[in-house]
Assembly symmetry: C2
Amino acid sequence: MKMNIQGLVRPEIRTLEPYFVPEVSYDLKLDAMENPYDLPGDLKKKILQRIKQISFNRYPDAKGMALRKAIAGYLKVSPEEVLLGNGSDELILAILLTFGGWGKRIVYPVPTFTVYGLLAQITGGIKREVFLEEDFQLNARKILKEYPDVIFIANPNNPTSNCFNKDEILEIAEKSRGIVVIDEAYFEFSNRSFINQIAEYENIIVLRTLSKAFGLAGLRVGYMVGSREVIKEVSKVKLPYNVNALSQAAAEIIVKNSKRINKTVDIIKAERAALMEELKKMVTPYPSETNFILFSCTQAQELYKYLLKKKILVKVFSESYLRDYLRVTVGTPPENKKFLAEVKNFMRGKK
Amino acid sequence: MKMNIQGLVRPEIRTLEPYFVPEVSYDLKLDAMENPYDLPGDLKKKILQRIKQISFNRYPDAKGMALRKAIAGYLKVSPEEVLLGNGSDELILAILLTFGGWGKRIVYPVPTFTVYGLLAQITGGIKREVFLEEDFQLNARKILKEYPDVIFIANPNNPTSNCFNKDEILEIAEKSRGIVVIDEAYFEFSNRSFINQIAEYENIIVLRTLSKAFGLAGLRVGYMVGSREVIKEVSKVKLPYNVNALSQAAAEIIVKNSKRINKTVDIIKAERAALMEELKKMVTPYPSETNFILFSCTQAQELYKYLLKKKILVKVFSESYLRDYLRVTVGTPPENKKFLAEVKNFMRGKK
């Protein structure tokens, strides 16, 4: 029986462009803001020993209490103010299912992390994109004019790599009737957080992830911090067993060893400064408060293709207003050296 | 600034009763249909060796191709007809986000797996529950009368443990304009599947899980099988990196060793028969095509409490029409013996 499947699909989904994961071959992956270092050997060994003890046949702790307590200790908040997600992507979805959806206005500045818009559309909300100012700064007034029900602000922002003016964000939290989600995925590189503002602004939710500085992208652990009431509501929507047992155990160990992780962050920041200096000689990089650098150059599209031919993957953008930009993750010193050498080769060929 | 957070929450969520995970202390967990056996030692060792090789700092394969190929090989379908989920729960959500949502009619027989109704409500659909017949059978006509956009049919059903009449299900697939999701979570115990019907009925989606027979509840891996067009649409909605790298690797090894897993299934089925015989002497158990048994007895609520006092957790139901029923997972021989001894003690005390 031939069915018209398209006719059954919700119109928002039918027209949706899926999240783009490039299917190309590469030796050097500098497109996804991953930590270039795998875990220190002794920590990985400790995790493997713990995993060995887990009964694979039993459901994970639905509340993820041990990990929430570890995170709460690290943040100096209460475990009841923390909720775990299968990556922070899942929490973005849960927030939208709680506060967004059909008829609700979902507002975010652009350019930013594309998943906000993707999930706003999937959950049936009304997407309102507000362009950043020329200096990549946020304009509170323009955001507020959209009457947002939910606002997403990545701070530092991806792909622009800057933090926004704190006063603009607080003005939004103060004057908006909506939920203000501040995504601090790159917090460990910027050291600026709104967690301390949650007590005062109950409508603020802070998102964090263990996928970047903490080096656990493969394990899918994100978390949100919010008032008890916000956490209670979003908890209803999250899937019962959303974070698997192995990731919970590994993440707990890593969070409890956050001081060691911070050493990696220092190394990446030093390496970022070196990469920035070299890039300045060839292209126009923008200041970075993350583990990546956005830069512009007149032949960005050709440079992307050239690097790919050399098996180096960086991020190119589909948005027309970003066609002169590329984004590169800070790698290890040899990785950055290899990348810089190829940018130099490309530039030389173009002269 | 004190906000009225409740006022921001969508009404469907405000009134939602969250998925119930009991917070009680127990020695013997027979409430969640877990496989009572952890993986064989050599397979677990193999998995740990594989996990050791994984770069924790890198995102997992977004398409999960290695695992999809393994599953496709096991099922004798194409990898393009398979989609992975963070447990089948996540796929139920993705299906509803694709084909359900605001204004759509989500129909399922009751009693059944509570997550269908929970996620139908979370995604804003119109829930239509249709009571099963007296013999726990499905009535296609009653389902069709609800004009379903999406229908969920657990086959075998939870908690009734029976398979439905095949002709009734096919009548629904034939006459409905909607998507028919057949949840075969317990397939390995019933050996009856609708996967072969997908070629003919493009609107059929089959859900499977590795959480039951395959003994990977802690790792959260479910999958769906459907026509290429259905898979393509639902793929757009699933989160980009939804199944973590460790679970993908472990599941691939387990699926490739499915013959060994089937041995455990045979053991559980034999043990189910023994448990059934003993239960018949004390209560009224219903025929089982799963790894659990539903039974009724006049003092179900008291028996539940008595067992809990003895640190044995079985499933009690919040629905008023199930107040005389309990559900028990088939455990290991010593576990079942302990459970039966306490049921006997309870019955003796009641005489």
